[in-house]
């Protein structure tokens, strides 16, 4: 095979230097605060990726995601496809030689991605999780048909047709609950949800600042304040 003669001119040869200024030094501390895990302990050995049944679908392997978190590539991580291919099966958590619960880091990243609005259009998982939460808020317990309906509306209404054979199969076997089962403590569950928002809202700035100061990056503390103002 003749080697294609390079036609790129000097100017077009892509220079690949990581732009240091895009690094968000507050990002690792933010992930640590939510997940309770230290991303700094990772030695990049790849055991998590090697244990992950979904690594082959991911644009970045779990190991590389950890390195991107540490480096502070917040946008790239939160916009990545990889985190939505984590099914929380805990294989990585059990085997990580540094004892990092990688699954909880991934959960933290997904929650940050949703809150930051970085949602990959081609991926239905975010829509499914948010529909799940909406049904939960509605009844306190998840009613499967309502969930499927809400999820279909948020993604592709035609999906309901695809689910029909399954639904009929369940009905025929008496495994379809027609009416939702409202949790007796529904009001309390809703108050709980608000309380969670308040707890995270009130102390998160403080905790993040403490976490950041312990992480020793003053400009990250300033970034946290800017971030806080933006979110409110």
């Amino acid at each position: 095979m003749a080697v294609a003669e390079s036609t790129l001119t000097e100017r077009e040869i892509p220079r690949e230097v990581l732009p240091e200024e895009i690094r968000n030094r507050f990002f690792p501390a933010e992930v640590e605060d939510i997940s309770g895990q230290s991303v700094w302990a990772c030695m990049q050995c790849g055991t998590c990726s090697g244990s992950c049944q979904f690594a082959q679908e991911m644009d970045h392997t779990p190991r590389r995601i950890m390195e991107m978190v540490r480096t502070g590539l917040r946008e790239q991580v939160l916009a990545s496809r990889a985190i939505w291919y984590c099914a929380s099966c805990y294989s990585c958590t059990v085997r990580c030689p540094r004892g990092i619960q990688v699954t909880r880091v991934m959960m933290a990243l997904k929650s940050l991605a949703l809150r930051a609005g970085h949602v990959n259009p081609r991926d239905d998982a975010p829509a499914f999780y948010e529909s799940f939460l909406r049904v939960l808020r509605l009844f306190g317990r998840v009613h499967e048909p309502t969930l499927v309906a809400a999820y279909a509306l948020r993604t592709r209404p035609t999906r309901v047709l695809g689910m029909m054979p399954m639904a009929l199969g369940l009905v025929r076997r008496g495994r379809m609950a027609p009416l939702p089962d409202r949790a007796p403590g529904l009001a309390e569950v809703r108050r709980l949800m608000e309380a969670v928002e308040k707890v995270r809202g009130s102390e998160s700035a403080g905790a993040r600042e403490v976490a950041l100061r312990s992480a020793g990056c003053p400009q990250a503390v300033r970034a946290a304040r800017r971030e806080e103002v933006a979110l409110r």
């Binding site: 939510i34 997940s35 309770g36 049944q53 979904f54 291919y85 099914a87 929380s88 099966c89 805990y90 294989s91 958590t93 059990v94 619960q101 699954t103 909880r104 959960m107 933290a108 997904k110 929650s111 949703l114 991926d123 239905d124 998982a125 829509a127 499914f128 999780y129 799940f132 939460l133 939960l136 306190g140 317990r141 998840v142 009613h143 499967e144 499927v148 199969g169 369940l170 076997r173 008496g174 495994r175 379809m176 609950a177 089962d181 949790a183 007796p184 403590g185 529904l186 309390e188 569950v189 108050r191 709980l192 608000e194 309380a195 969670v196 308040k198 707890v199 995270r200 102390e203 905790a207």
Partner: protein
């Protein structure tokens, strides 16, 4: 004989798509002298979804359920792997991680609930194999299932992230339980591999690949039956055989039952009480019931 009593956490699918699991659980446990009292006012545990939207909310829902169970003074029995993998790690984090405890206490205070951390969470498999004990199960066996070849399917969330009895890499509780019933338990490499869970709704081709690999190994091993312990795994393995044939060209006719159904059969309980026949792939021929 001290009677075993537990607060029972049914989970959202208990009275819906997993009605057969709940029915067989009550029947089998009652036959073994184990009492289950549903936790009053329980709510959804967040399954594999809520923690991805907000990990703190995921733990808060579980903390409330744990507090409800603790107030009954009984240990908490769970039969769904996903619920178990939310409730047990939340309890452990509540006991061991100061930051988690502080936040959850503030959330529980807001709904005037209190969690001491005394309650223990037990999966149904371990209630039978450890709390009750295999010998007591063996005493109850009336119709040993000799000749039935089965593979135990733990799924990813029974032995992981951690449970007090099984080695995460090579759990044995389900194997031992089935062996006690006279079942010929075949080695099963994928017994803790993930079945895709909620990906069946959001990334179907991935979940189908995983369920196919599991069903394919079961077929190669010559298993008559797959025994599982989670409604999510059961549905994924049982309900999509047509789609699997469309995609991979082979139809797997290996039925998937819950361990409570199989134990119930060995105890001589009636097929209807164990809701056998409500699975998509019929199990009667394999169990010699027709």
């Amino acid at each position: 004989m001290s009677r075993l009593r537990y607060a029972f956490y049914p989970g959202c699918t208990a009275h819906a798509s997993a009605r057969d699991y709940t029915r067989s659980t009550y029947a089998t446990f009652r036959a073994l002298g184990i009492e289950l009292e549903e936790v009053p006012g329980w709510s959804c545990c967040g399954s594999t979804a809520v923690s991805n939207v907000d990990p703190l909310l995921g733990m808060a829902l579980c903390a409330r359920n744990l507090a409800l169970a603790e107030s009954t003074g009984l240990d908490l029995a769970v039969t769904c792997n996903a619920c178990y993998a939310n409730l047990a790690p939340t309890l452990e984090a509540y006991r061991e991680e100061r930051r988690v405890r502080d936040r959850l206490q503030r959330v529980l205070d807001a709904v005037d609930r209190h969690l001491e951390g005394e309650v223990e969470v037990r999966h149904g498999v371990h209630i039978l194999t450890r709390d009750l004990g295999l010998d007591r199960v063996e005493e109850g066996v009336r119709r040993p299932l000799d000749g039935v070849k089965a593979v135990p399917y733990y799924g990813c969330l029974l032995s992981r992230p951690r449970n007090p009895y099984d080695d995460p890499e090579n759990p044995t509780s389900l194997d031992e339980l089935l062996a006690t019933l006279g079942v010929e338990v075949l080695p099963f490499e994928r017994k803790t591999k993930c079945c895709g869970g909620s990906f069946m709704n959001t990334k179907e081709e991935v979940a189908l690949r995983l369920t196919f690999e599991i069903l394919e190994e079961a077929r190669e091993r010559g298993a008559h039956l797959i025994v599982c312990a989670c409604p999510l795994c059961q549905l994924n393995l049982d309900a999509y055989r047509a789609k699997l044939r469309a995609r991979y060209g082979t139809y797997h006719d290996t039925p998937v039952l819950y361990f409570t159904q199989v134990v119930g059969l060995a105890l001589g309980l009636d097929r209807r009480d164990l809701a056998i026949g409500q699975s998509f792939v019929p199990a009667d021929r394999v169990l010699g019931l027709r």
